[in-house]
């Protein structure tokens, strides 16, 4: 039906005589080839191939999806990645350990504090640095959790955009702005902080910063209630999301999904609880999991609700971390930073940590110099996006869009 769309001869730049193109030939050939490549046996000419992205408002970056559509219904989704590949791993092999941290920040630029944290933990394990000043540990937790809230605010805000509600997105950004202001005061940067260093922190904590964080937390909690009233409890919103993109538990595990995507399917797995690093074992917090309250477990709505609840839990952690920080105010955050990092030849360390998007792992191998011989980053988004074909098949384009939103991918994290 749609194959006939280009059944007309057209000439590009005819008057200059530059190029003569037979539209029928080109379009038709591409169509047939694409169909052949996708090997759809039942192809009767009713499907159309649509290229979604890399320039599309809802692919959350430069993701390209090749869709086979039957009308509105998605028959096949093929993600194409690599548009934001920046050679992180090769870069890391050529620069000293400390200087890798800014590149780590750029892997997942939405939650770069957590990225730097993961790398610092890995290097600390590599060189056997286990005892850090209490202030450093509390500050690290504080920064990571603030950053987690900021990241989740983007996730739920843009998810609102995908569903078609614009106001929640701007409310989320308004509150995120406060976090960015706090982190800017602390680190000097709004996005790529380069703050958590191996063995310590880059800068001393400014006077009065923790009081401002407390002020923000008090301001923020009622705002979340307001947000829930506007979006989460909306009838249309629940109807849109409740039975879409259902990701069963076993599929999630077999694809290696982590973070809210895995927890949305009902698996209680959070590295902060199950394999605590830093001071996470000292805090009281719950690990929210999808409950399937309104429909099947593991739906888009469950993943969204997990993020909403995680924000509340992060607020809880921040309150406790602020109390902890209060007792160790006098310490120097740079005292434990090693002068030079030169691990033993052949030393290897793999550390995983929980970022807002899931499990981030760094494998670092040393060859005895001050430059790592191999740094491998295991990104959560890459595993999470791989389920897209499984869970979007049979849905509509509108469903596909909110499924991408619920996976909360960052293309920098996928491509590295």
């Amino acid at each position: 039906m749609f194959g006939n769309m280009f059944k007309k001869k057209r000439y590009l730049f005819e008057d200059e005589g530059v190029m003569v193109v037979d539209m029928d030939q080109t379009a038709g050939r591409y169509y047939d080839e694409a169909m052949k490549k996708l090997e759809i046996e039942s192809y009767q000419g009713d499907e159309m191939v649509v290229n979604m992205g890399p320039q599309h408002p809802s692919t959350h970056g430069v993701l390209r999806l090749e869709l086979v559509l039957d009308g509105e219904v998605v028959k096949k989704t093929t993600p194409h990645i690599g548009y934001l590949h920046r050679n992180f791993e090769k870069h890391a092999e050529n620069i000293p350990y400390n200087e890798v941290i800014p590149f780590c920040d750029r892997i997942d630029y939405i939650s770069s504090m957590n990225q730097g944290m993961g790398y610092a933990l890995a290097v600390e394990k590599l060189i056997g640095l286990t005892e850090l000043p209490e202030k450093v540990e509390y500050m690290r937790v504080l920064c990571c959790e603030l950053n987690r809230i900021a990241s989740h605010l983007i996730a739920i805000g843009t998810f609102g955009l995908d569903v078609g509600a614009i106001t929640p997105f701007l409310w989320a950004f308004r509150d995120r702005e406060q976090i960015l202001d706090l982190l800017e005061w602390l680190t000097g940067a709004r996005m790529l902080y380069n703050y958590i260093w191996v063995g310590g922190l880059a800068r001393e904590v400014p006077d009065g910063w923790d009081a401002k964080v407390r002020e923000f937390v008090d301001y923020f909690e009622p705002k979340m209630t307001e947000f829930n009233k506007l979006l989460t409890n909306n009838h249309i919103f629940i109807k849109r999301t409740v039975d879409v993109g259902v990701l069963p538990e076993d599929v999630a595990v077999s694809y290696g999904c982590t973070g809210p995507v895995l927890r949305g399917s009902g698996v209680k797995w959070d590295l902060r609880k199950d394999e605590p690093y830093s001071y996470y074992d000292k805090f009281e917090f719950d690990v929210p999991v999808g409950e399937g309250k309104f429909g099947p477990l593991g739906s888009v709505l469950d993943r969204y609700l997990v993020r909403i609840e995680e924000i509340n839990q992060s607020v809880r952690i921040i309150r406790q971390a602020l109390d902890g920080l209060q007792q160790h105010k006098g310490q120097d955050v740079r005292s434990a930073i090693p002068r030079r990092i030169r691990p033993a030849d052949g030393a290897e360390a793999y550390v995983r940590s929980e970022t807002p998007r899931g499990e981030l792992g760094y494998l670092i191998r040393s060859d005895g110099t001050d430059v790592p011989s191999r740094v491998k980053a295991r990104s959560p988004c890459f595993s999470n996006i791989s389920v897209i074909d499984d869970i979007s098949r049979g849905g509509m384009i509108a469903d596909l869009v909110i499924i991408i939103g619920s996976l909360d991918i960052v293309l920098g994290c996928i491509d590295r």
Binding site: G164, T167, L170, I236, A398
Partner: protein, 360 residues
């Protein structure tokens, strides 16, 4: 003869200016109201000699921008249909206003002027015919773009329009049964009376269910949130995907004009059109017995003002809905139209008929 043509031209100018100004102003209202709702400042950069006037100049700046931008046409596009698509869209959105009465009768020099552009005896039917044609602009423009996303938008628009066209007609049959006419000026005059001597006999009181259903269907008809699936900017970008410059501008204008249109029809059918409570042709007659004599011109002015105010209220309401709700999915819109709104309005007709028969 010349006098008659002059009066018609004047009325035409008034209606066109009314509609187009409201449509243009709505771009500003939309920006400013969304900004208020979202804790932002909103558009306030455009200035003339440093005068900003809370961003009102953005309306002009927008128009200038639209006109001066390159109007790009894809190579594969169907030349003729691609060009006239936006025109069809705007045309059918505008002509509907011909039958909307914006006042009663104005007497100038002994001559009675009916404040309605075209007193058609099939008023309501004409409105729906025109509203039904508007979708052609969308579908043709979408198809002629030769873009799969635009085509999807066009398909969504046509499917949505067909389902809501039916519901749009059925929802107001109850009201028409009460009014006993389809001429819009007559409908408004009917709503001038009072119930039990003090309550204005507006359609919203006679047909509350019909009113809510009609407003819902009307918003769906104007393709705005939560029924903006044909546009769906986060999914398929919309049927106007390949348009730029004024082509896109005209589609956008259609959107706003249709918003004004839906408000005007709702006001006419359910909120007494130009009626002001207790205002008769010669002045106010309050239910407690007091009267206040007014000249004819003052009455006409009050009526036009009342109509404008009511339209503005509904514009505000639509904007608020637009910036609050998420979007329905395409199949949910279909389901809502066919499985909920249509049966409810049929039941509404049944009950209305029953009550009318019993009261006779």
């Amino acid at each position: 003869m010349v006098e008659g043509i002059g009066i018609v031209l004047l009325k035409l100018a008034f209606v066109l200016l009314f509609v187009l100004n409201f449509g243009g102003l709505l771009t500003w209202v939309e920006r400013k109201q969304s900004a208020l709702m979202q804790d932002r400042i909103g558009a306030n950069r455009a200035s003339i000699f440093g005068i900003r006037l809370i961003g009102l100049f953005h309306t002009i700046a927008d128009a200038v921008k639209m006109f001066t931008k390159e109007s790009f046409r894809p190579v594969a596009a169907e030349k003729f249909l691609f060009t006239i698509g936006p025109g069809i869209s705007v045309f059918f959105a505008l002509v509907g206003f011909a039958v909307i009465p914006f006042g009663d009768v104005l007497i100038i020099g002994g001559k009675e002027i009916n404040l309605q552009l075209a007193p058609l005896n099939i008023g309501v039917l004409y409105l729906f015919a025109v509203a039904g044609m508007a979708v052609y602009g969308v579908v043709l423009g979408a198809w002629a773009s030769k873009n799969n996303f635009a085509l999807l938008g066009g398909l969504r628009a046509s499917a949505q329009m067909i389902s809501y066209e039916v519901a749009l007609g059925v929802t107001i049959i109850g009201s028409l049964m009460i009014y006993q006419t389809v001429e819009l000026q007559e409908i408004v005059r009917w709503q001038g009376g009072t119930l039990w001597g003090w309550l204005p006999k507006w359609g919203v009181l006679m047909q509350p269910v019909g009113f809510i259903l009609f407003l819902t269907v009307g918003i769906a008809q104007s393709k705005r949130v939560p029924f903006d699936a044909p546009e769906g900017e986060s999914e398929i970008i919309g049927y106007f995907l390949e348009y730029s410059g004024m082509g896109f501008g005209m589609y956008m204008l259609t959107d706003f004009v249709e918003t004004v249109m839906i408000s005007a029809i709702t006001v006419t059918l359910f909120l007494g059109g130009w009626q002001v409570p207790y205002l008769m042709a010669d002045g106010f007659h309050f239910p407690w017995g007091a009267t206040w004599q007014l000249e004819n011109w003052a009455v006409a002015l009050l009526q036009v003002g009342s109509f404008t105010l009511k339209v503005m209220f509904f514009l505000w309401l639509q904007m608020t809905i637009r910036w609050t709700l998420p979007r329905f999915r395409y199949d949910q819109i279909m389901r809502l139209g066919w499985k909920y709104i249509l049966p409810i309005s049929l039941v509404n007709i049944l009950i209305t008929g029953l009550i009318i028969t019993l009261l006779k």
